[in-house]
């Protein structure tokens, strides 16, 4: 029983991180119609920011705060220097961001080497609930990602900034004829989406061995979660993230990670075949 609850909590942990990564991807895609192939490497950079502060003796918490700032700034620079010249050239943005992902990965290998790196656990204690013991740090991750997800939803659906960005998603030319600076919206979105990936990477760093390939391990399931949930809707990600993340972590625990991959991809294929618009995707949903 206790084992099952722990597995469920671990699954929830993974789902929330996946949603964080997918949310950045989907906001960027929704507004700008750009599929950011470097999103996994933004996650990677977030994790390595923590590795770096850990090595410099600054500790995890400094890294956690720095990661979204560093990665967000990098996103802003990329948008200004590269992405902004490629809007409306869908394939070119895929190629360009893929190139960026390779550059980031190789730079990390040059600086840190190809091997996996561990960092100090920031909250090593266990919290007990009756007979059940669960790592405090994992609870912390859940709290952080839940709050960030909630804030993102709030900004998107309840603020003027969110209203403007939903207008750009629905009809960019008309939004600009209403006086909305679409380019500025793109820059804000790309920065924010990148920062989300950086934050997700930083929170995961203490839980796993950080290696230069780790971004892909989150990019692919996040991408899958978007396709399953329905691209272009924020709430779709909640459904997609839960299906993909939930089944993957559950099957990994019961059988093996390899079986999990096979099953998750099969489920995704079936869902996408049956509902190409995704679980919650429909016409005209913001």
């Amino acid at each position: 029983m206790a084992d099952l609850i722990i597995q469920l909590l671990n699954g929830l942990n993974y789902i929330l991180i996946l949603i964080l990564v997918a949310m950045g991807l989907v906001i960027i895609f929704g507004l700008m119609k750009v599929i950011n192939m470097a999103h996994g490497e933004f996650f990677l950079l977030g994790a390595y920011t923590v590795v770096l502060t850990d090595r410099l003796g600054l500790g995890f918490w400094v890294g956690l705060i720095l990661a979204p700032i560093v990665v967000g700034l990098l996103g802003a620079v990329l948008e200004l220097t590269l992405i902004r010249h490629l809007y409306k050239r869908f394939l070119d943005t895929i190629l360009a961001t893929w190139g960026v992902s390779i550059i980031i990965k190789q730079t990390i290998i040059i600086i840190f080497g190809p091997a996996g790196l561990m960092t100090q656990p920031p909250l090593p204690q266990l919290i007990s609930f009756g007979s059940l013991e669960y790592p405090a740090y994992r609870l912390f991750i859940m709290a952080v990602s839940l709050s960030v997800i909630a804030v993102t939803f709030y900004v998107f659906y309840k603020t003027d900034l969110g209203l403007a960005s939903r207008a750009v998603i629905a009809n960019a030319p008309m939004a600009s004829a209403c006086g909305i600076n679409t380019r500025r919206m793109y820059r804000i979105t790309f920065t924010f989406g990148s920062a989300l990936a950086g934050l997700a990477g930083a929170t995961m760093a203490p839980l796993m061995s950080c290696d230069p390939q780790m971004g892909l391990g989150f990019f692919i399931p996040a991408f899958l979660a978007i396709l399953v949930g329905g691209a272009g809707t924020l709430s779709g990600i909640l459904a997609g993230g839960s299906v993909v993340g939930g089944s993957e972590s559950f099957i990994s625990a019961v059988y093996s990670p390899v079986t999990a991959q096979i099953v998750v991809f099969s489920i995704a294929i079936i869902i996408i075949r049956a509902r190409p618009q995704g679980l919650l995707g429909g016409k005209g949903r913001g």
């Binding site: 003027d160 209203l163 403007a164 939903r166 207008a167 629905a170 009809n171 030319p173 008309m174 939004a175 600009s176 004829a177 209403c178 006086g179 909305i180 600076n181 679409t182 380019r183 005209g284 949903r285 913001g286």
Partner: protein, 233 residues
Amino acid sequence: MLIVNDLHASYGGSLALQGVDFSLKPGAIKALMGRNGMGKTTLMRAIMGLVKIKSGTIRFQGKEIQSLRSHDIALRGIGYVPQGREIFGDFTVLENLRLPLMRRPRNQRNAPKEIFEYFPILAERMNQRAGTLSGGQQQMLAIARALAPNPSLLLLDEPSEGLQPSIVQEIVDILLAINRDTGLTILIVEQNISMVMDLAQTCEFMERGRIVGACPIEDIRADESIIAKHMSV
């Protein structure tokens, strides 16, 4: 107020505007007529910065605006009601009216009272999703959205499209009242001859990307065959 000089622009590969010249005086209501595909909508979109301009100038209130981006053009005081209305169907009426006011301080982003005086139906439907409004109400919302930031020039593209005559008349009356009260300048592209005759003071005709003629609206009232000459296929 608005002076368009030798404007060339292409749209979808073909050169849609081939040297358009025309001007608008403050407070005037001018109609632009012509058959489909003659460049009327492209001209509207070009003024609004939504179409790439090849050459020529557009001066608005003494300043060249042809190289500005759409949101800057909107902020200088041009309101745009596109063909097909293009309201944001998922947003409420209030949200649609709030959108063009984002540049203002946070406490001044609600639609001005006068908007609801001209369009009382929108006040009743404030919190309704715009997509659920009737065609006439959506058209009123599109006009109200363009007017919310208090522009000095209003561009109307086929506002009567798909509406029944009584509603077209209602919109004409509202526009005339706003023009009288505020001195709003209006440029309207319209195929509906009776709407043009009720609303506009002058009319220009477009053919193959150029202005080919102009006349005061009285001449059309006296002899409708002027229109037939330019509109017949």
